[in-house]
Symmetry: D3
Subunit: 64 residues, 6 copies
Amino acid sequence: MPIIHVRLFEGRSTDQKRAFAEAVTQDAVRLLGCTPESVDIIYTDMAKSDWATGGKLWSDPKPG
Amino acid sequence: MPIIHVRLFEGRSTDQKRAFAEAVTQDAVRLLGCTPESVDIIYTDMAKSDWATGGKLWSDPKPG
Amino acid sequence: MPIIHVRLFEGRSTDQKRAFAEAVTQDAVRLLGCTPESVDIIYTDMAKSDWATGGKLWSDPKPG
Amino acid sequence: MPIIHVRLFEGRSTDQKRAFAEAVTQDAVRLLGCTPESVDIIYTDMAKSDWATGGKLWSDPKPG
Amino acid sequence: MPIIHVRLFEGRSTDQKRAFAEAVTQDAVRLLGCTPESVDIIYTDMAKSDWATGGKLWSDPKPG
Amino acid sequence: MPIIHVRLFEGRSTDQKRAFAEAVTQDAVRLLGCTPESVDIIYTDMAKSDWATGGKLWSDPKPG
């Protein structure tokens, strides 16, 4: 504990994921009172065609 | 809010996902009292070899 | 298939959840080519103190 | 019910997933009082570069 | 790894959850090649009014 | 995007969740290139009797 699941658009590099996992693990240790070893962080990359907000897929052109 | 996660077998087209996202967003506005912009819909495509019902993978032939 | 998970703020009634489940199931039949029996819809009610956007819990007063 | 979601490192074969789904379904019938048909098991394969424990991606070399 | 999330109707006892967790962990060791310590099993209890199949909440009376 | 789901043992205060959400949102802005408004963080509190590691519920006494 904790298990932290991060769902984000594809395109972030492994370096970005590594840096974010380090930072969030340190936040969890400092603010939630966990040991570092107990923190699992999991990434799911999403295609923009698999995410809609306001009824519009992010892969579709914005009106305007 | 809300976040709506749809897990379905791979094979649906982007057009189907777009139409379903539009319909579900309208349902949420009408029935749950959300603004459209607050509705996120996320798709996860599943291979039939990654889903079992009754102990049988959907990729395996059905008995009979 | 599909499994549809709806995460929303607590406070919606069972009548609202029933109506939304009916509507979304009909959408799935019409637009995704499912049988009605294959559609599972699952609700998770969220406290506003368990959801942050822009780094602010929804239970906290908005600035302004 | 139940829906059982299994998140594991990529590399397990379909034969392993089939055998695990059969075993877990039998456990659910025996221990949770379900019918076999009511048990859904879903797999998500994870790349080691998408999972961090203790702030370290599993794809990175271990110190030592 | 693996993380196994079990979503089931409320009403199962802690004894049932303990027994199921033991059995599934042994299955994972035997069939997926994990160490026991690497297996996390997480339960989410669901109210029948928060789950619909075929557009019907499980808390509603069945027709017939 | 992103949606960050944090599953942790119950017992953390709202103040801890607020501080962690602020920190993680800043990490996401700095390291993943998001706007703050695009970051959703969601907490699920878990009872120790709903989480097993190595086949043992966390609510059970440790051997030794």
